[in-house]
Amino acid sequence: MRGKAAIVGIGQTEFSKSSGRSEWELALEAIQAALADAGLEPADVDGLVRYSYDNVTPAMVVRSLNIPDVRWFSDVPFGGTAQCGVIAQAAAAIASGIARTVVIWRALNERSGVRYGRAERHIAVNGDLVFASGDKTPSGQFSGPYGLHVPGQSMALWAQRYAYEAQLSREQFTSVLGAVAVQQRKFANTNPLAMMRDKPLSMDDYIQGRMISDPLRIFDYCLETDGAAAIVITGAKTARALRADPVYILAAQQSLFTHSEPITVYAEDLMVHSGSGNIDKLFSDAGVNRSQISFAQFYDATSFMVLSDLETYGFAKRSQGGSYILNNGTGNESPLPVNTHGGHLSEGYIHGLNHITEAVRQLRGTASNTVINAEIGLLGCNGASSAILSR
């Protein structure tokens, strides 16, 4: 699959707290922008991939854009696990010849509509006794009655355990997480697309932020966003004919392991969120080593995931991610700039698809916070979903 498919178009809507429009309309705007960016027409599309969570179906897109001949379409479950799963499926379809040109989208009114930071969508409010059912965490029968309701609380449990294993004091851990949040806000302040472009965040502001689920504060959490993003992927030969700067997919994967069912609290080792060996396979599939990676866009539902991903992807040893961040930072002057658009914490939350559009902008040299001479970018979510892209 290495290098056989490339991203040739990216598109998005405004990211806001209240779009005032349906997710369907947002999806169409992003998809049309991505096709225009690629220099393609809807009739050129023959494959579709979406997140299973999306309310906009392939049929809604095909009918709206009058796409005459879609031969292949696919859904990828989960949120962060879908981030690069959608890339993997599109690239595999193109490499195998099932599809020639694939459109991927994610559209959500996640602030003005159904909020993922709330649990009422899983534990319906109807009467004095309300029921937690199923065995998923958070919010199932074994967690909902205890007040473990949303992913951001499960991640606080990961984070607390991490600080214990890494022997970080409360103050040290605050400094580490704060460094991630403050740096990503700096990136957002110079990114015109970011929801937080006009809102600076100092370390003092960060520390003053209210505690949500200790040890995580308000600024450790992703934003809630209304918006959509889309990308267009096609075969490498077509890509080179379309534009001078296609972004090649060197490797992409999605992973399940025994305790994957989001958001795990049962895994034997809560610091590990993917199958064994799949990170090594990612780098070997891509034919690159870590020193060749110019930047990373890590799926940051919380700031803590940046810290854990530095370890998951091998840029810091286990329990050393904290000292890595304090020594190197995650800004453009560091060995590995991370979430150069501001990430989910400060650009917007489009389930990681906006991390992919940022990676493409970096590799085209058009990002607001340009990483000089960026050649190869890494995308990752806890090892559960990963990709390596190159210019």
């Binding site: 029921f131 937690a132 065995d135 074994f142 007040g147 309701h149 355990r161 214990y164 949500i212």
Partner: protein, 135 residues
Amino acid sequence: MLIVPKADSLTQVYWDGVQLRELRIQKCLACDHAWHPPLYICPKCRSKNIKWIAISGRGTVYSFTIVHHAAHEAVVDSVPYLVALVSLAEGPRIVSNILNCQFNDVKIGMQVNLTFQEISKGVLLPQFEPIADLF
């Protein structure tokens, strides 16, 4: 408003045990592996020869969080509250609130014992509390 567990065909034995003040998990008779949440066959050796056992009641705090922001309207008046992961002596981990414990006293690695909490008339939840004689 109160959030209560809803049993299903796979978990009925667990909640039946709770009503008898017993915390039950599944164990494989072929390989001795124990796990939670419930499954149909042993996830380690795939044996169907599995049974429910009552746990000893001893556990260790694996991690915890103090929830300050209610994410469901049922707990608006409950914040701040403590949620912990407890590793059972038998191996599996379960979610619990640590009862009879100040927020400042909860520590990872702390030994805890099984207890039961009546959250509503006739509705019990398995819970844990610090081992008294350590304090």
